[in-house]
Amino acid sequence: MTDNKDANIKETNSTVTPDSGQLPTTPAAESTPTAESTPAAESAPAKQSVSPSGSRRRPPKRLVDRRSRRIGRISLLTTLVVLAIVILVNIVLETVVGDRLSWDLTQNQLMSIGEKTEELLERLEEDVHISYLGTENDLLNHSTLAFVPQLLNDYVNRGRGHIIVEYVDPVADPSVISRLDPQSIHQLSERQFVVQNRANGRLRVLSQQDLVATQLNQQTLQTVMTGYSAENAFSGAINYVTLDIVPTVYRLTGHGEPPLEESFQVLGGLMDANGFDVSDINLLTVEKVPEDAAVLLILAPPADISGPEADRIIAWIKTGGSIMVAPGAFTGQDFANLNRVLQEFNIELTSDRVREGDSSLHLPNYPTYILAGAPKNDITTGSVPETLISEAAGVKILQNPVEWIETSVLLKTSDMAVLEEGGNPASISPEGVQNLAVMSDSTGYMDGTNVKHSSRAVVFGSSSVFDDQTFSLVGYQAYNYMLTYLSFDWLSQGQTDVNKLVIPNKQLASYKIQHTGSTTPIYAAAIGTAVVLPLLMLLLAIIVYRRRKHL
């Protein structure tokens, strides 16, 4: 190879004119001097110049420099061309293909929208702007929310041009806050998502906490993440800002009821997703239930309501109002005033706890954690999975049949269940089917002019049906989640059936080892991989080193 190179150099050297020192423009000299070009040089051995002493002469430095420069120029040029091609190919691919050829490999399809959201986007006729008050990089670098930009891309890709996502950093562009919320009603701040329908001006603000489901660990008193609610939150917000009518659920307060964020995040998310506005109401201070109320929710009251409250609720029921009642964990509390309200529906909430006798229908060793059955009725229309309900009071249908009240069992036990009277395990009723939830439809107050709707009630023996602890136990496979939505849907009498957005939270992928036997295999695997294998490699390295040393 060196000979070839020398031959090439000497061939060019021998044809240099002494005056000009110009290189000839032979094809061999012009071509890029690669290994492939050397045969051309080899074919001209006759022109080699040899010094009188017989040794080969080195080419003049100036000639070599020129040649080197030319090689350098060609090299630089081709490098730039290749670089340009690489950049161009990638830009074209990014533009033409983009995200179209991408697959979500996450266990729970975290970065893709589901069927319900697709249906929602297909029906979308107005533009919805999703603005993140921060940079995209903030999210990409976030430990738990790095998936959000990709999820939003999916909304854009399937939104038929109606979903517009923008990232605006309020630090760089402070005017964005006043642009999105001119009246400062929502007190926007950094790292919030604003979902807005600019046609009707309606907007919903989502915080980063709305995108993940969390739960308080009772043992460590730390909040732990249990899943992702981002799709639920975004789709719910899109649904909300595009709804024509926004029904409101009023949650009765004033008796120490826990806030939704504390124990009923999933329920709150479900209502948000389906376009319900949720507001609190204290009927001790407010004289009547507002007219825009779709449902009055009496959720986990630690004590009975007062007489005046009962009167106000009954007054509202007489105008076609609907209520949902779900007491907290069983305490044996007597709800006399609440029962006065429920009498309007032929229902009574007892102060007896339900205990399941069939061990296959309760959690092991916990007979009050019941897997309830759901018979068919206006809410449950097909066969459904079991529903977990715990520490529930019995719900009685009063023996006062009137033709304008139609009452049905929503959840029931097996025929081996008993009622612990007053919560006393020693004092039990005879075995039989016990009602855990009842629904009732009363047409008694309908007059076709002032009252056009029937009054409805759904009474659960316990709010555990839809509390966060239950969802963390049964996930979304049990009937609990669907039952919750269907109950609200039935109570609001179709006001929410615009989209029926029942989007379960996405579970966290679990990488826990399920091995339950002896710990020996785990210790063996840990020591074998982290100690034995590296030592083996080091031993081999020493052997090779010693062998080479003696070569």
Partner: protein, 262 residues
Amino acid sequence: MKQTQAIYRRELNAYFKSPIGYVLLAIFIFVSSLFFAVNLLGYYANIASELNFMQGLFFVLIPILTMKTFAEERRSGTEILLFTTPVTTPQIVVGKYLAAFTLFLIMTATTLIHVAITVLLQGTVDVLLLGTYVGFILSGAVYIAIGVMISSLTSNQIIAAIVSVVIFIGFMLLEAIASLLGNFTTTILQNLDFLNLLSAAQEAAAGEAVTKAVNWINPATRLVDFSSGIFRLTPIVFLISITLLFLYLTVQVLERRRWTQS
């Protein structure tokens, strides 16, 4: 092809006829297994997060893997011998590159032991892991190509290793630098726009565009999708083209040295 194979075999043998191949394997296995073992003792096994963690070690492992590729040949004078054999420069580069890449694949393959243990202990091995492996191997391919090119620029292995480390750390910092450049662009536009020709949103968007552009050329940023579970075609093409680009640059560096005299 035969010439490439000959160089490939010679280079791969060289890794295992000296302690370097075994030492690299020992380091890789020790660190990855330590991560795996600590999690395993807590009844947890996520190989994808292990691979993401190991990518942070690339800036140490890959320079050691590639530093001698060409620098050692040049220092010991065997580069001339290589150039005078009937082998083209691309064949030399590809042969040496594939040898280094094979050692990297062997290192990666050792993590399959962890996958097997996870399966045996009834842990979760999902399809996300496949994407993570693809990302891991492609990023290794890019970094090895860069390391090989750096090695071709110098006759000193240590300098080759240090320059590679600096470049790889640069990639890691490039994301932060991209963000700074974006903010800097926005600030400059705000200060220069006396006539208010651009709205604040446009100025912010320009800064964001600069950040995106810098991140777009950063292999480290392009790999985020893989580790987060998104398998996309465009980053794969990007990483392969960057690998080929650096191999081409290596060929150019060697060609120039092969055919020029000074």
